[in-house]
Symmetry: none
Subunit: 528 residues, 2 copies
């Protein structure tokens, strides 16, 4: 197996993405995760550009990494000065990284318009900077910015810039698709041409502006490139950088390239979610390999086939990247989906059992009325428990009233709910305010029940979605409410449908609370 080195730039180029901002502590934690998963190089930042990045290089020195090397990023020297006088280059050396990566201009248009120097002088910038750094850092890499655009505009000059880097003995020359506009068939051809002129090991750095960043990176490896730059989850400016979470499994499982180990690959999904978590972003459900939906099946045809042979509709075993197959419940589903779902919840259903048919009929009927159990698996579990008679009634709601009142033209409406519940013969009657009727009702229900079930205090309402069906009748139509709740351990979704939004919300709220109470029971039973 030939070897490919992985170079992560989540902490540098990734932070150029809109919404992405890491504290130094976050960066240190991410660096440890990247190290554990077997990433070879971790580009920590551009020390010449901001003090936060300087702090990272100082802090990371105190940490023990198992194998990863830390790289610092910067640019070639400025015109008219020598490298030893260039502040950016001096800061790079002061950061004392294991590797230094500098970028330089390839595209003649950029040399003229951005640097505003003669083309020859740019070659000197590249050569001088790399030669100076080469004796002052263990490894030195050269990022040829806008390489593909530059090559298309002026191939001879583009190659000259690479030759300058080669003469300065750069350890690797990285071809960058900085604007992300290169088509995969162009890229493969250009790399073939480059290899005729350049003997230094080559790397690839792509952006996703044409939705081709991953394909372009894989093409490059197919053409013999040995160093791949990218970010976790494809974070990065505009449409993002090449997504290492999609590149790594393809390299190992589809192209037979040696990079991280099989054991490390099984941590890929965890790594992806960890980075989302620290960036405070919701994971992309549909993300290839690591997303929640990546191996989720909805169509009845697919589901029954998957039950027999997973490879019929899965391009690889999800366990290899730490993911799992999921079966979705929907109006496209059949009996196979229901049985598979029951199994996930450790509920034994026999396909010939009349209860199974009852559940199936019940679900089809509910789906016709607008219910949807994708994202509402807790409601689905309760439904099965009710059908099987293993459901316990923890409380009953005798009644409630919600009042929204606006008393002046410029005043916002106020919402207040009163509620009466009964638990084991005891009646509780209370009231609460809220931002709108549903929030007020939620507050009141929980206030009433927490007295009897203190563990409800752990529950938080995480998301609340409303969908009107069918359109065409406005607010008088059927309304579907999806609620996502969570506690310290897990998250669960519940659903309610009614022509009345309060009723639909009420159903979903009650399911969420019942699910939590069931979960607590089972947890306690397990402890005995």
């Amino acid at each position: 197996m030939s070897l490919v080195k992985l170079y992560d730039t989540t902490l540098r180029d990734g932070t150029q993405g809109e919404d992405i901002s890491f504290l130094v502590e976050d960066k240190i934690r991410i660096a440890h995760k990247l190290d554990e998963v077997g990433i070879n190089y971790i580009e920590g930042g551009w020390p010449g550009s901001n003090p936060k990045d300087i702090a990272f290089f100082k802090e990371i020195k105190k940490e023990k990494l198992s194998q990863a090397k830390i790289a610092a990023f910067g640019s070639t020297r400025r015109a008219k000065i020598t490298p030893d006088k260039d502040q950016n280059i001096r800061t790079l050396i002061q950061a004392e990284p294991d590797a230094i990566t500098i970028f330089g201009k390839t595209w003649d248009f950029h040399v003229r318009e951005a640097l505003r120097i003669p083309l020859e002088e740019n070659l000197e910038l590249i050569f001088d900077s790399l030669e100076y750094l080469k004796s002052r850092a263990p490894e030195v890499f050269y990022d040829a910015e806008h390489f593909f655009d530059g090559y298309k505009a002026n191939p001879e000059y583009a190659i000259k810039t690479l030759k300058a880097a080669e003469q300065a003995k750069a350890d690797c020359i990285i071809l960058c698709d900085t604007n992300g506009g290169t088509m995969p068939f162009e890229l493969a051809q250009i790399i073939k041409d480059v290899k005729k002129h350049i003997k230094t090991p080559l790397g690839i750095h792509t952006h996703n502006d044409s939705e081709c960043a991953v394909a372009n990176s894989l093409h490059a490896v197919e053409q013999g490139i040995v160093h791949v730059q990218g970010t976790i989850n494809g974070f990065g400016e505009r449409c993002g950088n090449a997504n290492l979470c999609s590149i790594i499994p393809a390299l190992r499982l589809k192209m037979g390239k040696e990079c991280i180990s099989a054991e490390q690959l099984r941590k890929l999904r965890d790594l992806s979610r960890f980075v989302y978590e620290l960036a405070n972003l919701s994971p992309d459900k549909h993300q290839p390999y690591v997303g929640n939906s990546a191996f989720a099946h909805k169509g009845g045809v697919h589901v029954s086939a998957i039950q027999r042979h997973a490879e019929t509709y899965e391009h690889l075993r999800p366990e290899l990247v730490g993911n799992t197959t999921r079966v979705l419940i929907s109006d496209l589903s059949g009996r196979a989906n229901i049985l598979a779902k029951a199994e996930e919840f450790n509920i034994n259903l026999d396909s010939k059992d009349p209860v199974t048919l009852d559940i199936l009929d019940n679900i089809k009927d509910m789906e016709n009325r607008g219910y949807q159990f994708e994202g509402a698996e807790a409601s689905f579990e309760l439904l099965m428990k009710r059908a099987l008679g293993t459901h316990r009634k923890f409380f009953s709601v005798i009644g409630f009233r919600v009042i929204d009142e606006k008393r002046h033209e410029d005043q916002k409406p106020l919402s207040e709910a009163t509620i009466m519940v009964k638990v084991g013969g005891k009646v509780e009657h209370t009231a609460a305010e809220g931002n709108g009727p549903v929030n007020a009702l939620d507050n009141a229900i929980r206030k009433a029940l927490e007295k009897f079930y203190p563990r409800l205090k752990e529950v938080k309402l995480l998301d609340y979605k409303v969908r009107v069906l069918p359109a065409g009748q406005g607010t008088a139509s059927a309304i579907r409410v999806l609620i996502e709740s969570g506690d310290k351990e897990s998250r669960w979704g519940t659903v309610g449908v009614s022509d009345n939004i309060i009723d639909a919300s009420y159903q979903a709220l009650i399911d969420s609370i019942e699910y939590k109470l069931h979960k607590g029971e089972e947890g306690e039973a397990g402890k005995k």
Copy 2:
């Protein structure tokens, strides 16, 4: 320029995606948008699989499309029966589409394991089904399911299945990467091989499980394929289908292929957002070409270069796909949008007029609070009228109260609203019931105002959408309500945002009524 036909399957394969569910009315609206943008074929559904899809084909017949053809999807006949006896095939013909697409098995493994019939018999299934349909539909397409996996497993058999389709005179044979696992360099090579054996025009249908769906589709076109299937925004099962929003601009702007017109291409971003809106999903900011961040620049180096020459860090001009450059630090964008929008509404705004700057500031502030004017252009027009002083106050709401009450455990809650409005010095105080608080409030407001403005009786509330932003705080988060209203002549959208759902709904309802009253005034003025 060579011609490529675009085949959209958002309404069929797209709805297999987790979270994606369209009503028949949504599908009709999306079909109109796809038609306007120049999509050649619109696959509306699988009539043999569910009644909702049958309803679509019935309804779409009543609509006038400018150029798009409607396609229905199904499978080859079942084993042991003739096509005329096959319910799935009969339903396809009964749907009376402009084109019929059926899928069949290419992969010997699937024939053995899923169909459980001899390999030869599968060839008969393909031939018989296509031959039967060919004389009963204007165009017939064949989707070769799992083509690439099948070809890798048994190339001879895979080609035989295509030959069966060719002999039955299928108008196009579509090579499907059903599991989405094919690498782009493999795909190009396999298509080269296929073209040695098959003369029928070829199509491509890819999935994004390896994050290569767009690249694979573009490769296929580069290899001479003339029919491309995909979905808007890449909606679809697991990791989605090939994203037409990324494929179309690459075909036209980078590969010189003839498909939609330049004018239609400028509607691409609108189309993308329209489909997100009807799916009730948040648009992906980082989506190539059409996302909010696709041409957003954060890095200082990039920003100053962009100011001088956009092409330094943009792979194409965002205006070509209806998008705009955004500079994240010093936001200079937007003014051009506002002026263009005003022009659409026949409102004269001068870019140097201080009112224009006021509107811009106001909109930015509102957008920061969660407002969104896509799909709420009536609210946007009212906002401009208010800024220009051409807005007339038709009424004021002094106050209201909404009560939702549930008196027994098994009773549905009842909603009642009381309202007090003032019109030209006269006060009206009345009450109404409704299905939930918003419907009750809408009924009460209109009951009070119809007395003064009888033309409000023409208004119908067509759709009501609620979105919670930002997720993570449940029902206490900010809430955005979008309302679509209509009368005999037109439809209009309005928006409201608040941490209180009643308040947000109230804002959108009031805007809808004011818009109708303004519209009436202008109509009457026009008649004089």
